[in-house]
Homo-oligomer: 410 residues x 2
C-alpha cells in the first residue's frame, strides 16, 4: 500500500498554494452599486466631493450667532427675533445678524452669518417671531461642517473590502452608482463513486444518495461564487478524465469529491495530473477529519480534491478551501465565534489539527460546547452541531471546562 508523502499542516498547505507563482489573479467587473452587496471591491474608492456638501444642522433648533448666547442662562435668557424658517432641501434666503435667528431642522442648511445651532430644548417660543434662548453655546455647536464626513479626494473604501450595507450607503451618498468588483468565480463540483445515485432516485442495495455535490455547492454559494454541478462520475479513470477536461474548460476552479486518497481505486490525483501544470502541490494535510485532501494548480486554475466522507469534505472546505478562495478575491476577514466552556474531555494527537463538531448548550446563562461525536463522521453529526472547535496540533486533547472558541457554520 502506498503512503501519504509530504503531509502538511493546514496553514502551510494554504500558503503553499497562495504563494505559488501559478496562483491565479481575478478579473474585474463593473457593476451597479445597488447590486453590490457582499461583492469584493476591486479598486480604491475616492470621493470626488466634500461631504456633507454644505454646513448643516445636526439638531432641530435655531441658527444663531453664538455671541448672542454669551452669559445667557435659564434664569437670565436672551430674546431673539426669528426671521425665517429654513425649509429642508433649500438654501436659506436670509442671513443672520446679531439678535436674529432662523428656525432650522436636522439636516437643514446653515444660513450665512450664523455660527451655531441652539437646540429646540434650550429655547422657548414666545410668539411667531420671538424666542427666548436659555443656554450659552459655543461656535460650531450642533453644526456639521462641509467636508467633515469625507474630504474631497480622500479614499473612502479600500480595494479588497467586502461591500456591506453601509458601503452601499456611503457610495450612493457620494453619487458613485457604479463600482469595480472582483469577478465572481465559476466553481465546478465533480463527485465520483459507483455507489452514488442522485437524491431523487430510489435507494437499492449498496447504493447511497450523493450529498457532497449539494453540501459543497451551497458552501461555494456562501463565498459569493457561482456553482456548476456536474453529473456523478463512475469509478473509471478514462470517463472521469473526459468529464474533468470539459469542466476544466468551463470553470475557474474545480472541486472533486471522493477519490482523493491513495488506494488503487482513488483516481482523482491521476486525473489532476492530466489537467495541467504544475498539478498537485499538496497531497495529505495533517488534520482530522480530512487528511486525504489534494490541493493543486493546473495552468493557473485551482484544483481541489476533497475526501468523499461528507463531514471531512465540509470541514476541509470551510477550513482550507474557503480561505484560499478569499485570498483569490483579495479579501481578508476575521471570523467571529462564541466563547463556550467545553462540557467533556476531548482526546487528540499532537502533530494533527482536529475539527470537532459541537452543540452549544445554554445553562444558567453560560454557554457550553458539547462535542457531537460519531465513529463514522456522517452528515448528521454536522446537522446536530451548531459549530466546531479547533484543537491545535500541539495539543493532545482538551480538558472538560476549558474555554473554547466555537465557530458557527455560515
Amino acid at each position: 500500500m502506498s503512503e501519504f508523502f509530504n503531509v502538511h499542516s493546514p496553514s502551510i498547505a494554504i500558503s503553499k498554494i497562495t504563494s505559488n507563482r501559478e496562483f491565479p489573479s481575478l478579473k474585474k467587473d463593473l457593476i451597479k452599486t445597488i447590486n453590490s452587496l457582499d461583492r469584493i471591491i476591486a479598486e480604491d474608492i475616492i470621493s470626488d466631493i466634500d461631504l456633507p456638501h454644505f454646513d448643516r444642522s445636526s439638531m432641530d433648533g435655531y441658527a444663531i450667532r453664538s455671541q448672542d448666547s454669551n452669559g445667557v442662562s435659564e434664569s437670565s435668557p436672551n430674546y431673539i427675533r426669528v426671521i425665517e424658517e429654513i425649509k429642508m432641501g433649500t438654501q436659506p434666503s436670509k442671513s443672520i445678524k446679531s439678535g436674529e435667528a432662523s428656525r432650522i431642522f436636522t439636516g437643514g442648511m446653515l444660513p450665512i452669518g450664523a455660527d451655531s445651532i441652539i437646540m429646540e430644548e434650550d429655547t422657548e417660543e414666545l410668539s411667531d417671531n420671538f424666542i427666548e434662548i436659555k443656554k450659552s453655546i459655543s461656535i460650531g455647536e450642533n453644526i456639521i461642517y462641509k467636508g467633515e464626513e469625507i474630504k474631497k479626494n480622500k479614499i473612502i473604501i479600500v480595494n479588497g473590502k467586502r461591500i456591506r450595507s453601509q458601503e452601499i450607503g456611503s457610495l450612493l451618498e457620494s453619487g458613485i452608482t457604479q463600482i469595480k468588483v472582483y469577478k465572481q468565480l465559476n466553481i465546478g463540483v465533480l463527485s465520483s463513486g459507483d455507489e452514488l445515485i442522485n437524491p431523487h432516485q430510489n435507494i437499492t442495495p449498496g447504493k447511497i444518495r450523493d450529498i457532497n455535490t449539494y453540501t459543497i455547492s451551497n458552501l461555494i454559494k456562501k463565498t459569493g461564487s457561482n456553482v456548476k454541478n456536474y453529473p456523478i462520475m463512475p469509478d473509471d479513470f478514462n470517463k472521469q478524465l473526459i468529464q474533468s477536461k470539459k469542466a476544466y474548460k468551463e470553470c475557474d476552479i474545480l472541486i472533486f469529491s471522493a477519490g482523493s486518497s491513495i488506494s488503487y481505486r482513488d483516481t482523482t490525483a491521476k486525473v489532476i495530473k492530466n489537467l495541467g501544470n504544475p498539478g498537485i502541490i499538496i497531497h495529505g494535510i495533517s488534520v482530522k477529519p480530512g487528511k486525504p485532501t489534494i490541493l493543486g494548480l493546473c495552468d493557473k486554475k485551482l484544483i481541489i480534491g476533497l475526501p468523499g466522507n461528507p463531514v471531512s469534505a465540509v470541514m476541509i472546505f470551510i477550513n482550507i478551501v474557503q480561505p484560499i478562495i478569499e485570498q483569490l478575491y483579495n479579501h481578508k476577514s476575521l471570523k467571529s465565534y462564541l466563547n463556550c466552556k467545553l462540557d467533556e474531555n476531548i482526546s487528540s494527537k499532537t502533530g494533527r489539527v482536529d475539527y470537532i463538531p459541537v452543540k452549544i448548550i445554554s445553562q444558567n446563562n453560560k454557554l457550553f460546547a458539547s462535542p457531537v461525536l460519531g465513529k463514522s463522521n456522517l452528515i448528521n453529526t454536522l446537522v446536530q452541531s451548531d459549530g466546531y472547535i479547533v484543537v491545535p496540533s500541539e495539543k493532545r486533547g482538551l480538558y472538560k471546562h476549558t474555554n473554547v472558541k466555537v465557530n458557527q457554520y455560515e
Copy 2:
C-alpha cells in the same frame, strides 16, 4: 415642545411587540430542498428510512469474521482466502465463512457472514487469493450499521431551524427533495424628507442624497426577506399617507425612515396611527443612537419608524428590528462576536444602552477595539468600523483595556 413618553429598554421594546396578540404569524411555502439555503424550515423533518440503508464499511480493507483474528498479531499472522472484491454500489454475491474474506472499500456493503472489517494497513497481500491478517479485531469494527446515523421515524431537523449546507445534504440523503419553509416577508421601505434626492441625481444647495433606503433594504436582504423600495416622500402628511396606504396593502412589513421623532415636522407617528389598530406600541427606546424609534402593529402588520440619521437607522435595524423579524420567522440564533480589548475609555449614561462603532486592530497577536466616533453620526463612521460594541444600560461607560465583545456587521 412635546416629550417622549414611555421610553423603553431595547429588550422590553422587542418583547412588547413580539408578545402582542396582533403580532403576525407567517405563511408557509413548499420549495425544493436544493433551493432552500438560509430559509427557515417550517416543519419537523422525520426520516422515513434507516440511514445508512445497509451495513457498510467505514474503511478500505477486508470483510472477515472477527473470530478469525483471535490471538493474531504482527509476529503471528493468520492466512485468509479472498473470495470476492465487493464492487461499490452493488450487493456482495458471496457470503463469508470462517477462513474467508472479501475485499471491500469505504462505503461498500457488508457481505453476509462477515461481522467486521480489517483495515488494509493491517493486512499483507500474498497473492490474488490470499492475504495475511496481522491484528486482532472485534465484532463491529469499522462497520457502520444500518440505521446508525438516522433511525426511521426520528426527527432529523426541527421547525424554526435555518437551513445550512449540511441540512440540505441530510435531507437529500433521506430523499427529501421538497420541504416547507416560512414564506419570505415582503418588506417595504419608505424614506421621507424634502432635502432628499435620489443617488443618481446631482446635489444642489441644501439637498442630500437618500441613503437610508439603500442601507436598510440591504440589511433586509440579509434577513432573507424581499424588499420593495418606494419613492422618496416629501414632508407632507397627506402625500405620505396616500403612499403609505398603498405600500401597506402591498407589503407584510413597512419600515419608515425619518420623521419618527416628536417635532411638528415629524409625521410618521401620525401616518402609522392612520394605517390600522392598535397602531403605535413603542415610541422612544432608551438607546444611543436611535432613541426616536417607533414600533407599531397595524391589524397584524409590523410597522417600524426608524430615525432619519443613517447610523441610528442601521443600529436600530440591527439591534431592534432584526430580532423581531427573526422571531416572525420563528427562528432563534446566537450571534458570534470577537473578543477584543478596548483601546480607550468610553463614556455613557446609566439607563441607556449605547451602540459604539469600533475598528478592530491587531497588534502583537492581540485584538483591540478602537471606537470610531464622530459628533455627527454620519454613515462614514460605519464604513470605517468593523463592528460595534454594546454598553449596557447599568454602566456609566467602559474603561480602556476592558474586554469587550465586538459584533461584526453581517
